[in-house]
């Protein structure tokens, strides 16, 4: 069918929809949230209006949905199927996880996947207590719902994202007790950006967050991590300690800190389900793309955090490139988007520098005790993973799951997969990522007859109809 289908309404998906629409192509923009923006431009869910921050692609104005973009909100894309000449995206639309949702199927010859990423959380003793959140949860709740995850919050993890999270928490009235950065301080290069960080457009934004924290007297400590959370029914205090270069705790540096909440984030994990269902090739755990954001599969493009963690600006630039390429595939007249492509190149340089500055070091494995839960859903402890490897010589993700139980619960290894794979010595970061049903649906929803839809019409779609503006 001659329209571009974009999955994901964050910076990458919005830019892709806008770019394709600007070439006169019909676009369907599918997003799980009620409002566009994704995790980055997290909108205030309580406000009746759309208040999107200016998109990076067009810093001079707010993003409004172009006329030829059909935005489908509250839409869970649960499967992608290859069909002759294209792909079919199966979607449930309506209240989250409700059996009353309506099924829709979108066929397309040009599919743009912009499904984003979620926080990586590393396990530590007590991390399954209520009151331990991911940094993304603290951010989503503060920005989207206007609530703080706690009164006294410790923010921990690694990377510049911890700063806006801490700043949002302060904004909704929480006291941020401290920010624990496991690597070197962000503020180091923030005050005097050099090398690859020089000229990074986000530096100013981060400096503002750092300013907010400084004004509120929030201590920011490098080479420090939350090693344990304590409490009976929920978090009452945490243990914080200094780390060495490999992230092993430095003995004697442990401190008990009173807190009722912890927000942790150790970088991000891409949401690969739909890309893997479409059989896109991965490289180092991310979707491999060419200069036009094309994946290894004809007619499937990927943009944003799926292709590498690089933040909203890079995501929007990749989205624009993908949107133009998708429109071109449908026959629109499109010139190479040179400016967006150069923004992509610059963005990737920063992304590489960021990844190098904020790696996850293997010493985190020392934070775990034998009985520390690794898989939260099935409550599988580290011990069970080690035994699977030591006693049964498990060498692949499938058997590891079936022998240890890790990754068999409702989250299907989204949270524990990378951690379990590392603990078991499997070197594929995406070992657990294959989930043909990309998000659970009710059996009755699955049983429903799908609403018939015209097949992908390759011939019609190949006719050029682009309107060059």
């Amino acid at each position: 069918m001659s329209r571009v289908v974009v999955v994901g309404g964050g910076p990458a998906g919005m830019a892709a929809a806008e770019a394709a629409a600007s070439r006169g192509v019909e676009v369907v923009l599918i997003d799980a949230a009620p409002k566009l923006g994704g995790q980055y431009h997290r909108q205030d869910g309580l406000s009746s209006e759309d208040r999107l921050a200016p998109s990076a692609a067009h810093a001079d104005r707010r993003w409004t949905s172009p006329e030829n973009v059909e935005h489908v909100p509250d839409a869970s894309a649960w499967a992608v199927e290859a069909v002759d000449g294209g792909h079919r995206v199966h979607v449930r639309v309506g209240l989250a996880d409700d059996p009353s949702r309506e099924g829709r199927v979108f066929a397309t010859r040009a599919l743009v996947l912009a499904t984003g990423a979620y926080d990586r959380a590393l396990p530590f003793p007590g991390w399954d207590l209520p009151g331990v959140f991911t940094a993304g949860a603290a951010q989503a709740l503060a920005k989207g719902q206007g609530v703080a995850v706690g009164d006294r919050v410790v923010v921990g993890g690694t990377g510049p994202f911890l700063l806006p999270v801490a700043s949002s928490l302060v904004g909704v009235g929480a006291r941020v007790v401290e920010v624990a950065e496991a690597n070197a301080a962000v503020t180091g290069w923030l005050s005097r950006p050099t090398g690859a960080m020089a000229g990074w457009s986000k530096a100013g934004e981060l400096a503002r967050y750092a300013g907010v924290l400084a004004r509120h007297g929030v201590p920011y400590r490098s080479r420090t991590a939350v090693l344990a959370a304590h409490g009976a029914e929920s978090v009452e205090s945490v243990t914080v300690a200094r780390l060495d270069r490999d992230w092993s705790p430095v003995p004697g540096t442990e401190r008990r800190v009173e807190a009722d909440a912890v927000a942790v984030g150790f970088g991000f994990t891409p949401q690969l389900e739909l890309a893997l269902a479409a059989r896109c090739r991965l490289e180092d755990g991310f979707v491999a793309v060419d200069a036009a954001q094309g994946t290894s599969v004809d007619g499937v493009f990927a943009a944003g955090e799926l292709t590498g963690i690089g933040g909203a600006d890079l995501a929007a630039a990749e989205g624009a490139v993908a949107g133009f390429a998708a429109a071109k595939r449908l026959g629109a007249v499109v010139e190479a988007p040179l400016r967006a492509m150069s923004r992509v190149r610059a963005g990737r340089r920063f992304a590489r520098a960021l990844a190098a500055a904020y790696p996850v070091r293997s010493g985190w494995q020392d934070w775990l005790r034998d009985d520390t839960v690794v898989c939260r859903c099935e409550e599988v402890a580290k011990r069970a993973l080690y035994r699977a490897v030591d006693e049964r010589d498990v060498g692949a993700a499938g058997p590891l799951k079936l022998v240890s139980g890790a990754g068999l619960g409702l989250c299907q290894g989204r949270i524990c997969g990378r951690n379990a794979a590392e603990l078991a010595g499997l070197d594929d970061p995406a070992a657990f990522a294959k989930r043909p049903i990309a998000v659970p649906l009710r059996l009755s929803e699955l049983a429903e007859e799908s609403r018939a839809e015209a097949p992908v019409d390759a011939e019609a779609a190949a006719r050029p109809f682009g309107i060059d503006r």
């Binding site: 869910g45 996880d97 989503a140």
Partner: protein, 85 residues
């Protein structure tokens, strides 16, 4: 907007998620795990961890962080694995 939490009426506003309502009302945990009966609540906040499961209008396994409240919702804790009623 009125919804009930475990049979008790609580204040809610359009656009709030179930998790937003519960946390704003001081509820931090609304589920127990199937194997060990441990308390759980919100964790990832963006729909990927399935830790914040809650029962809404008789249907279990609803992600509280993703579900928007609707007037009259009957929201209840979920204990382990449950069947829809």
């Amino acid at each position: 907007m009125r919804v009930t939490w475990d049979g008790r009426e609580v204040e809610a506003r359009p656009g709030q998620t179930v998790a937003g309502v519960l946390i704003a009302n001081g509820v931090r945990s609304w589920r127990t795990t199937r194997a060990e009966g441990r308390p759980r609540g919100l964790f990832c906040g963006i729909g990927v961890c399935f830790d914040c499961l809650v029962r809404v209008n008789g249907v279990p396994d609803v992600r509280a962080c993703q579900r928007l409240v609707a007037d009259g919702d009957d929201i209840r804790p979920q204990r382990g694995a449950e069947l829809p009623s």
